[in-house]
């Protein structure tokens, strides 16, 4: 097969239909990645317009441009859009588009999940933006502190829009995190050991793992607050044993790592672009990986520095102040590695480099003010002033937007296959750089002069007028700079010269393919022996186009790519990915209906879309049809490998495992909340505790343990080829899970006080609901496993369905044990 025929055959397999149908059904990572990037930029523009309105309001004292009610919506939506609808989705889009190409793969591990995440993001973001049009946008600040966001002080649906809309959008973040983690760990080109991966993949792997742990506390907090608002369960009401500080803890457990979740992918862009433009290799690869790991962990020990003024004891302040200062060190390691790389190479002052130099200036200033704010005495003075606003913008715009703009100009030829001269790009850089510093440097000064954030106006005698006016003028200069950037990109799409591949003479694999890239990325997969494969073998691209790598022969219409052993990069198996389907968009629409029902207060009606999501989820898993054993497949170069459904470490198993890690973090956050309220909150001990419940609790535990045993027996029987006993064991497992549900329900109804009475009861019911939900999931898993065995999808070789089901059932059983200990301990103690 020649290169052209191979291209046509692969394009037919990996491409999507033209028009709206293709838009609705495509699951290709390049399509989804580009959509994320474009949509994130649109949301960025909306957030930017809101920022200009904020600055127009503050330009003069006593301004009547907007009133306080609208102003509250403006700053809340500006922050929420920039954090949740721009920064995270923008890097998700870049990751989805770029990662497989850099890793020498043809797609991400779960293409349908990418598409589902995209639609959830689009629909959730649309709900949030629509709320502004209808005048019911969130108005309690982007961190939604209680009691301001509680029913008593926000009786309308403004807070509900935030809590439900953001949770809906966060589905896409969790989806992307799992997708990225498994793709980096498993779907790499053969030979690409972990220490041969491009640094960008390391950055994204660590960011994705951080997201898996950081987002569940926010999702849990949002659920608890929404339940409090909807059903009066008093998690945050101090008069009934709750505490507003619990919200702050849950929010900032997510919120501070979030800053690094935003920064790290952008730092990955720097570590990729900077050495290419310095015409050398990155200095200190291993040290950067170590610094990344240190940064990721330390970033979870800083959250209380947002709460320094809440009356926390000195010792706790000391813990978090020390951690906040310490986190500057791994960041500094990276900055010095980048400076060393520049020193080591022969840098060219091309447009992406200009943005990188802008990053250095702005981010270092932001980092220094961060260390200032980490010091408790200074923070007590500057807390909630414009100094903090200036700091966070220096960190986020310096640490995210400047590197991403560098990345945009670096990778634009990859998206478009064209290159343009730099004139307009340089003009936009200087407008953004100067405008940014004029805007935000002034805010350091107004903050130090005592101007509080979120005030809609100020008196003339405060003495902040000139600084605010200059700041507002700067913001408009910056906005025009971004508009110029958008114009430059648009011109790039239509009025630029066509280029062949690799215009920067880079060494990473994304440049080993034609630009713009075909749907399948590369005609055959390379063997990687160096961190920069193209530097090692400049003719690699041609060789891969000729089909001289792995999987160069298209067959059966399969979307094939390679999976490797995690550490060594040795060939593990062939993954056959699912093709285009409507399932993601339909599931996202039904998921959206669930959130809309909740928003409208139609709680019983919301059960209908829940049933729909369950049915679609089962369909999602069912259509992965494989009713016969395939055996080892030829993969090229005279080698063979098993197919993923017949291999031990299939991506589906890993994805489920990481989903359960996120799930476990949500439970840990709930247990933290339960313990926090016991120890810290006022009005404890509760007036009424659990009364009895030992017997149903014991029955629930026994039933869950039986469920786990039956799941194991079903798997073992399948592996032995005894499919009849395997099916019967699965059915028995399902019955055991039903027993667990009944026992847990009995425990709640007979032994627990009403959840509205006290935060203790509310937490107990929340824990019980968690276990009930997981027992239900375990029941569905066992029922699904039974049906799969009966339909011939399972054989001694094909046990993936049962292994995944066992994972969920074991998790359900283990967490049930923890929940029961927490629920029954007060009964035993009394």
């Amino acid at each position: 097969m020649n290169a052209l025929r191979r291209h046509r055959a692969l394009e037919a397999i990996w491409g999507a239909p033209k028009g709206w149908r293709g838009t609705a059904v495509s699951v290709n990572h390049s399509d989804i990645g580009k959509r994320f990037v474009v949509a994130a930029f649109v949301f960025f523009a909306i957030g930017g317009v809101l920022a200009m309105m904020i600055r127009a309001q503050l330009a003069t004292p006593g301004s009547a441009f907007v009133g306080p009610d609208i102003y509250n919506q403006l700053f809340t939506m500006h922050g929420s859009i920039m954090m949740f609808l721009f920064a995270i989705p923008m890097f998700e889009g870049l990751a989805l588009y770029m990662l497989p190409k850099m890793l020498g793969s043809r797609d991400m591990a779960f293409p349908r999940l990418s598409a589902y995440g995209w639609w959830c993001y689009l629909f959730g973001g649309t709900i949030l933006i629509a709320s502004m049009i209808f005048g019911v946008a969130p108005d309690g600040g982007w961190f939604m502190y209680t009691p301001l966001s509680s029913k008593a002080f926000t009786p309308g649906i403004n807070a509900d829009v935030w809590l439900l809309g953001i949770t809906f959008v966060e589905i896409s973040a969790i989806s992307a995190a799992i997708e990225i983690t498994v793709s980096v760990l498993k779907l790499r080109a053969p030979g690409m050991r972990l220490d041969r991966m491009p640094l960008f993949a390391w950055y994204l792997l660590i960011t994705a793992l951080m997201m898996i742990v950081a987002f569940p506390p926010l999702i849990l907090g949002s659920i608890l607050l929404e339940v409090e608002r909807a059903f009066d369960w008093p998690f945050f009401d101090p008069s009934r044993g709750g505490s507003p500080l619990l919200w702050q803890h849950l929010f900032w457990l997510f919120g501070h790592p979030e800053v690094y979740i935003i920064f790290l992918p952008a730092a990955g862009v720097i570590s990729t672009v900077l050495p290419v433009l310095a015409r050398t290799r990155i200095l200190g690869y291993g040290w950067i990986v170590a610094a990344l790991l240190a940064l990721a962990f330390l970033s979870f020990g800083l959250w209380v520095h947002h709460m320094f003024t809440t009356g926390i004891p000195h010792m706790a302040l000391g813990f978090f102040s020390a951690a906040s200062a310490l986190v500057a060190l791994p960041t500094a390691v990276q900055v010095f590695a980048w400076i060393g790389t520049l020193w080591n190479g022969r840098p060219e002052l091309k447009l992406p480099m200009l943005y990188l130099l802008g990053f250095f200036v702005i981010f270092v200033i932001g980092g220094m003010t961060g260390v200032m704010l980490a010091m408790v005495p200074f923070d007590l003075q500057a807390h909630d002033t414009h100094f903090v606003v200036a700091h966070l913008h220096y960190v986020l715009i310096g640490g995210f937007i400047f590197p991403m703009l560098a990345g945009a100009y670096y990778w634009l030829p990859h998206f478009t296959g064209r290159t343009r001269d730099d004139l307009l790009g340089k003009a936009s850089f200087w407008m953004i750089f100067v405008g940014f510093n004029v805007t935000f440097f002034m805010m350091h000064l107004t903050g130090l002069l005592g101007m509080r954030r979120r005030v809609h106006t100020y008196p003339e005698e405060a003495g902040w007028t000139l600084l605010n006016l200059v700041s507002s003028v700067g913001s408009f200069v910056m906005a025009f700079g971004f508009a110029l950037f958008a114009i430059d990109v648009a011109l790039h799409l239509y009025y630029a010269r066509r280029r062949s591949r690799n215009p920067w003479t880079a060494g990473t694999l994304e440049w080993a393919m034609p630009i713009p890239t075909p749907a399948y990325n590369i005609a055959s997969l390379p063997t990687v022996a160096d961190r920069e494969p193209l530097a090692d073998a400049p003719a690699l691209a041609t060789s891969l186009a000729r089909g001289e790598g792995y999987l160069g022969q298209p067959r059966h219409g399969w979307r094939e790519t390679m999976a490797v052993e995690t550490t060594s990069g040795a060939i593990d198996h062939v993954v056959v990915l699912p093709g285009n389907t409507r399932l993601p968009i339909v599931t996202a629409v039904v998921t959206g209906c669930f959130f809309l029902c909740l928003l409208a207060g139609q709680y019983w009606l919301s059960l209908l879309p829940v049933a729909g999501v369950v049915a679609l989820g089962l369909r999602w898993a069912w259509v992965l049809d494989w009713r016969r054993d395939i055996g080892p497949l030829p993969i090229g170069r005279g080698e063979v490998a098993p197919i993923h459904r017949e291999a031990a470490g299939a991506p589906g198993w890993w994805g489920s495992a990481f989903l359960l890690v996120a799930d476990g973090t949500a439970l840990a956050s709930l247990l933290f909340g339960y313990a926090f309220l016991w120890v810290i909150a006022p009005n404890w001990p509760p007036p009424e505790r659990i009364d009895g419940g030992l017997m149903p609790g014991l029955l629930a535990a026994v039933a869950a343990a039986a469920g786990s045993l039956f799941a194991r027996r079903s798997l073992a029987a399948s592996a032995d080829g005894a499919l009849g006993p395997a099916g019967r064991a699965a059915l028995a497992g399902a019955a055991a899970q039903l027993g667990t549900i009944v026992a847990l329900g009995t425990l709640g109804v007979t032994a627990l006080p009403a959840p509205q009475e006290h935060a203790y009861a509310a937490c107990s019911w929340a824990l019980l609901a968690y276990s009930l939900l997981h027992a239900l999931i375990a029941l569905l898993c066992m029922g699904f496993a039974r049906a799969r065995v009966a339909a011939g999808h399972v054989s001694p070789r094909r046990t993936l369905d049962l292994r995944v089901a066992r994972l969920f059932i074991d998790y359900s059983g283990a967490t049930l044990a923890i929940v029961l200990v927490c629920l029954l301990a007060p009964a035993v103690a009394s």
């Binding site: 760990l185 170590a290 020990g301 010792m315 000391g318 813990f319 951690a323 995690t566 550490t567």
Partner: protein, 103 residues
């Protein structure tokens, strides 16, 4: 996955130790352990300082992991992260010896 677990071990221990110290401080203050005096200092202080020192020592003990590393990369990254974890434990835990526990 083994490599990822090994290179993260020092930092996982820090995360555990940091959470433990914060939890002990909160629980100790809530249940009055700072009121109980032992050898000239509060029971809570003893508890926290001994826990802190044990955590730092455990962090340093993880240096043994570098001996069995399978590559230079793994050895270097493990060494850096174990030292970072132990150093972070030393610094972020130091308030247990330097500041008031419950005020």
């Amino acid at each position: 996955m083994t490599l990822l677990a090994r290179v993260s071990a020092g930092l996982i221990l820090w995360a555990f130790g940091f959470s433990l110290l914060y939890a002990l401080q909160g629980a100790g203050c809530a249940y009055g352990w700072q009121e109980i005096q032992l050898f000239g200092a509060a029971l809570l202080r003893w508890f926290l300082v001994v826990t802190w020192l044990l955590l730092v020592a455990a962090g340093l003990a993880l240096l043994r992991l570098t001996r069995s590393a399978s590559s230079d990369f793994e050895r270097r990254v493990t060494l850096a992260t174990v030292l970072a974890g132990a150093g972070a434990m030393l610094v972020t835990g130091s308030p247990v010896a330097l500041t008031s526990a419950c005020a």
